[in-house]
Amino acid sequence: MTVQAPIEGHNDPLGAEEMATTARRPRARRPPWWLWAAPVLILIPVLVPVAALFLRVLGATESAWATLFSIRTAELLVRSSLLVVLVTTTSLIVGVAASWILVRSNLRWKSVWGVLVAMPLVIPSYVIALSYLAASGPRGLIADLTGVGLPVASGLGGAWVALTLSTYPYVFLITAAALRRIDPSLEEAAAGLGAHTWRAFRTVALPQLRPSMGAAALLVGLYTLSDFGAVSLMRFDAFTRVIYAQYSGRLDRTPAAVLSVVLILIALALIFGEERTRGRSAYYTQRPSRPLQPRTLRPGARAGAITFLGVIVILGVVVPVSVLVAWVVRGASLGMAVSVDWGAVGGSLVASALAAVVASAAAIPIAVLAVRYTNRATRWLERSVYVTFSLPHITVALAVVFFSVNFLEPLYQSLALLVVVYAAIFLAQATGSARAALLQVNPNLEEAARSLGKGPLAALRDVTVPLIWKGLLAGGALVFLTTMKELPVTLILRPTGFSTLAVRVWSAADELFYARAAASALVLLLVAAVPMYFLVIRNREYVS
């Protein structure tokens, strides 16, 4: 399997598993104060505005409360919850099935399948949505080729399909990693007792997978709740779409603020709810003593497995990419302008690269604080990093806008603020990677440097950073990739005249200029594929 690396920042969005395992011997020295500087400087511009948003809503007028208790809010709640439940369910089924086939069966070409199945990770949800919209409907590709007009794939059904395809790779990666850690002798024991394949899976593997499935479900639920691009293109009135409409279409921004607060509260409830239902002991850290013996599939099961994998790869990768290509060709042949907007390419690259650099740099002190100076304060720091990662992006963007308009006028719609917000919301990905790398570094090395006369900064520079360099690069690549795909924060916080590929794709698609949207989307995929490839390659050498 070659697709483990991208999950480093994802597999445990709240870091709870790692927190539980950091009970080390206390290090008595206090961390140097400057270790706190970078994390605080990056998190404050996000967390203070979010807090201010809550205060604003609490102190709001009666109209705010009217918004909150209107029928419309109740409807939103129902629609968003329905979408979350549907997407989480299908995503779990698809992801777990794929991971079991690719970890535990004797299917051939498993590593190729693994890369293909994880591929939708690089495709933003709004690009998948765009491709299904552009294929269906009376003006769609299918109608164009066959003359038969399919109904437009929009609304709840469209959002469900698009978000399932965007999220199952996370479930796949998380549960595949967990399956690999299960001691094979348990399943063998079950087989020895006469359990056949399905029963062994259901009675032995599945219960052991429960904690990782819980983590994956939380991730998918939060992703669905926060998703803006797919639901807005699919014209499904979930929280995020309505918040954006309220924000951009009305002078009174209080309703947008009220709905944002509700959405944040739902997200927090999900996080803490999942945390409470999970026993710490449920996490096993045991490594299997020997390699897993793959199960031999019977011919019928093999055909079924291949069909299943084939269908999800076709739906998640082949359809989106070929629809995009077809629209570009079609647009060009009709004489439409489908040229690449180099300004947007540049904008995407610059913003994502800056975010990756800032997040990786800030991840160094956070990892050091979390791993070397574990105490109450540093645990809270880690926690706020993961909570920031879990906040719906559109609410973060709105909170920052409201705050900066009122208190930080010069920073409003500046590239600096945009980059800091990116870095803050994706900091968890960089931190997860840096932390994992630092856990591999012997703390005596840093003490050796200190006893040789070097101060903490010099020890960090000469010893720690060179040894966690690969982890920092991987985390940076992940942040680069996610920033590239990010939509709502970019839409709301970008400087005037500053464009990115994500913005181009979304606005063209929203106005039904599918050819133009498809061209930008293809470029976006090409650029996003580079860090993905890097992560895969890096992981391969990591394994060997």
Binding site: N442, A448, A449, R450, S451
Partner: protein
Amino acid sequence: MTAIHCHNVSRAFDDVVALRDFDLEVPVGTIVSLVGPSGSGKTTALRVIAGFDMPDAGTVVIGDRTVVGPGVNIAPEQRRVGMVFQDYALFPHMTVTGNVGYGVDNGQRAERVREVLDLVGLAEMADRMPHELSGGEQQRVALARALAPEPHVVLLDEPFSNLDAPQREKMRRDVRIILKNAGATAVFVTHDQSEALVVGDIVAVMREGRVVQTGPPHVVYAAPSSPWVASFLGDSVLIEGVASTGQVETFLGVFPHRGREEGPVDVMIRPEWIHPYPDDGGDAFVVDREFYGHDQMLLIELPGGQRVQSRIGPRPLLDPGDRVNLGVDEFVVFGK
């Protein structure tokens, strides 16, 4: 002159007390073995001296500077204390030269690295990476790295525990010679009493967070301050006795007594202080023999049924059943 002086140092982790009123003096140019069972606070003592851990109370003076005390807390990098870690902690991304030169100022680096590598006998390994070295070589590099910046004192934390037995014996001899040639002051932590006796000029025995006895190896071995120290530092035969003016009565006989104890006492005798003299009419007999090549350990039963151990040279070889008479060279009396 004192290189390190720890005074009344205390340190607790949550509810575990690691050091309590820990006192230690290390004279310049000596090697002090800090020895004690695991959990006795040896490593914490080293970490407090090095500055990686902060005591709850007490002072530590290195050279003529207080590095920790009321209102004082000097950072580890300013203490000029070289550290040799149990796992060596060589920088894996630097060559041997890079490691050894890391703590030396630019100007004298090349020269000093050559000098120290010569001292530890690794001049030809200068360009290797740590993972290309054997365990013993890594150990020497770690020692060279600690010595290179000419520290006030070198601290060694269980430095031989990662080596296999034959290598360990060679390394402890080599390390002692290297430290002596460098004229270094060193504190050497170990839980192995024979290692402590071989390497140290002075042995400090630790128990439950404090030093219970300090002295040259032969003194602490032959004149332990308590039965506990006696049995920790080596095999001992502990028997009961009754002291009165000028003598101690035991089942092994009546010994002259110069101490002040009176009444019931404990008498400690090292097995090598007990001599069996073969005598067919002797009233004791050999129960068992462990033969080690360079010596033999005998288990001998007295007429009263008491058993004692006796360590003698390889000859005469005594067999189980042989009758003997016992003679005792030395003994130590502990008041109850």
